[in-house]
C-alpha cells in the first residue's frame, strides 16, 4: 500500500471498515456478556456458549446443517466438475456460451425466487408421485446442490482453461486410456479449482437461509433457520454466541479459499 496515502483517504478507509465490521464486533462482544442486557457489558463470561451447547434443538440444527453441507457440497463438486469438463470440451462457441449463461442464471436469480420455485417443484412432483410430507432432508439436499452447483462449475472451468490441452493427449500417447488420463493427469491439474469450488459450495450451503426456509419442511431445521426462529421468541445472548460461532467458521473457510488461491498464484509466478 502506498505510504503517500493522505489523511482523508485514511479516514475514508477507516469509515468503510468501521461500518463493515462494527455490527460484527458488537455481536461478538455481547456474546461474552454476563447478563442479557444489550446495552451494558456487566462482565465477561462463556455462559451463553455453555447454554447454547446444552440446547438440544440447536445442537440438532448444527448436525443437520453440517450433514446437508457435506452431502450437498460433495455431490455438487462431483457434478460440477463433470459439467465443467463437458463445457470445456465444447467446440461450438454459441452452444457453449448458451450453456454458461444457463449455469449463471441461478446465481443471479434472487434466492427467494429460487426458494419458491424449488418449493413449488417439490410440491408438484410429490403430488405426482403420491408422496405426503415430501419436504425434509432430501429436499434440502437437492435444493442446496442446485444452488451451489454453478459456483463449483465457475471455479473449475478456469483451471481447465489454463491447463495445457496437450496434457491429456500426452497421457494417452504414453499409454493411458482416455478415462485413465483424466484421473491421472487432468484431475490433479485442476484440483486447486475443485477444492476451491468445494469449500465455496460448503460455505454457501452452511449459511443459506432463504432457500432452506422454503424447502425444509416442519421437521428439519438448519442452523440459520434455528437462528431465525430464536429471534421470533425472545432475543437472548445465546443467539449472539451462535452467530459469533457461525461467523468464525465462515471466516476460517474463506481464509482457506484465499490461502489456496494465493498459493496457486504464487506457484504461477514461480513458473514465470
Amino acid at each position: 500500500m502506498s505510504t503517500k496515502m493522505n489523511v482523508s483517504s485514511k479516514i475514508y478507509l477507516g469509515l468503510v471498515y468501521f461500518f463493515l465490521y462494527a455490527p460484527i464486533i458488537v455481536l461478538i462482544v455481547f456474546s461474552f456478556n454476563e447478563s442479557t442486557s444489550t446495552s451494558v457489558m456487566s462482565g465477561f463470561s462463556f455462559k451463553w456458549y455453555g447454554e447454547l451447547l446444552r440446547d438440544a434443538d440447536t445442537i440438532n440444527a448444527v448436525k443437520n446443517t453440517l450433514l446437508i453441507a457435506v452431502v450437498s457440497s460433495v455431490c455438487a463438486t462431483v457434478l460440477g466438475t463433470a459439467a465443467a469438463v463437458g463445457i470445456d470440451k465444447m467446440r461450438n462457441k454459441y452452444l457453449r456460451s448458451a450453456i454458461m449463461n444457463t449455469t449463471n442464471i441461478p446465481m443471479m436469480n434472487p434466492e427467494i425466487v429460487t426458494g419458491i420455485s424449488l418449493l413449488l417443484l417439490f410440491a408438484f412432483s410429490s403430488q405426482l408421485l403420491g408422496i405426503k410430507n415430501a419436504l425434509g432432508l432430501h429436499t434440502l439436499i437437492i435444493a442446496h446442490i442446485t444452488f451451489v452447483l454453478p459456483y463449483v462449475i465457475l471455479s473449475v472451468l478456469p483451471k481447465l482453461h489454463q491447463m495445457d490441452h496437450h496434457l491429456s493427449e500426452a497421457a494417452m500417447d504414453l499409454g493411458c486410456t482416455p478415462v485413465k488420463s483424466f484421473f491421472k493427469v487432468v484431475l490433479p491439474s485442476i484440483m486447486p479449482g475443485i477444492l476451491t469450488g468445494f469449500i465455496m459450495a460448503f460455505t454457501l450451503s452452511l449459511d443459506d437461509f432463504v432457500i432452506s426456509y422454503f424447502v425444509s419442511g416442519p421437521e428439519w431445521q438448519t442452523l440459520p433457520i434455528r437462528l431465525f426462529s430464536m429471534t421470533k421468541k425472545r432475543v437472548k445472548p445465546d443467539m449472539y454466541a451462535l452467530s459469533t460461532l457461525i461467523f468464525f467458521v465462515m471466516l476460517v473457510l474463506l481464509m482457506l479459499i484465499n490461502f489456496m488461491q494465493a498459493r496457486g498464484d504464487k506457484k504461477k509466478e514461480k513458473d514465470k
Binding site: H166, E169, A170, D173, L174, G175, T177, S189
Partner: protein, 372 residues
Amino acid sequence: MEKDIIIDLKNIDVSYGENKILDNISLYIRDKEFITLLGPSGCGKTTTLRVIAGFTQPDCGDVIFNGKKINDLPPYKRQVNTIFQKYALFPHLNVFENIAFGLRLKKKSDKEIKERVAEMLELVNLKGFSKRNIDSLSGGQQQRVAIARALANDPKVLLLDEPLAALDLKLRKDMQVELKNIQQKLGITFIFVTHDQEEALSMSDTVVVMDNGVIQQIGTPQDIYNEPKNAFVADFIGESNILDVVMKEDFRARFSGHTFQCLDKGFGTGEAVDVVIRPEDIVVTTPDKGMISGTVTSVTFKGVHYEIIVDIRGFKWMIQSIHEQQVGDEIGLVIEPDSIHIMKKSIYSGKFGDYSSFSDEIDHLSDIEEEE
C-alpha cells in the same frame, strides 16, 4: 512393397468443416529414418503427425504401421510416442515420475523403472535431476525431460512436433545436434515437424515439403535444395531467383535476354518453364565479361558474404558474393550450366517474384502457431 517401411500413409484426407487440412497425402517412412515434415504454418504438417499418433482420424485413406492398418487403433495402443510443441509435461509430477509415467502404466517393476529412468536421464544429460520439479526447469531442460519421457516407452517411432520452436537460437542448434545423435544411437525412426528450413536440411535423411495440405516434394535435403520441383519449394528452401523462361531446345534456356546453357532436357521446344538460380551460384564479374549485366541497387553485409540486389531488365536478382559492390555500380553476371535448374510450371509460378520488395524482416517472420 519394400520391407523396411514402417509407416505408410495412403491417400489421407482430413478436413475440419469446410477446410481441407490434408489433401490426398501419400507418404511412406522407412525404419530408422529421420524424416522431416517441412512447411509454413497451416500447411498440414502437424495434422499429418496427429494422424500418425492417432489423435486425428482421417476422413479417408489408410494409416499402415508395420504392414498393419491402424486407422482405428487408439493413440494409447500405438507404438509411437510424441514430443509436443510445448512439451506437455505433467506439472504435478517430478522429473522421475514424468519419465516413469509410461513405464508405470505398463506395470513394470520398480527396479526396472528405476533403471530405465536413470538410463533415459543419462541419455538426455539430466543426471541428478530426477527429484526436481517440472516448474523449476528451464525450457531446454523441460525439452530433455519430454524427450526422455517419450523414449522411455521404447517407441518404434518418435513424433516430434516443432520441439525446438520455443528454444533460443543457440540452444536450438545444440538440441539439433543432440536429437540427431540420439536418433542415431537408438536407431529409431524420427518424424520431425518444423517450419525452419535450415533445421530440416541439417537434420534429416528425408525432407517432405508441404503446403496447403499437399505434399510438394519428397527427397533428400540435397535433392530438395538443388532440384526443387516447383517455385514454392525453391522459394521456401533457401534464397532463390525464380524467373520465367522459355526453353529454346534441350539444354538451352532463354531468359534475361540471353540464351543460357543448362543441363535440363525433356521439355518441349518453346515451352514456358520456371528457372531457379541460387544466389550463391552466381559469379560476379565486369559488365563486358558477364553473360548478362545490370545495376546494383542494394548491398547488405551478412558476415560470410554480401547480399547484393541487382536490377537486370527490371528483375531484381539476389546474389551472394564475398566481394563488396557499390550501389549504382554496373556489374556482369556469369551463370554456369549446372547452376541453372529448370522446373515445370505449377500453380505457384509467378507467385514468387523477384527481390524488389525484399526485406530481411519479412523473411524472418516465422509464426509457431499451432494448426488445429
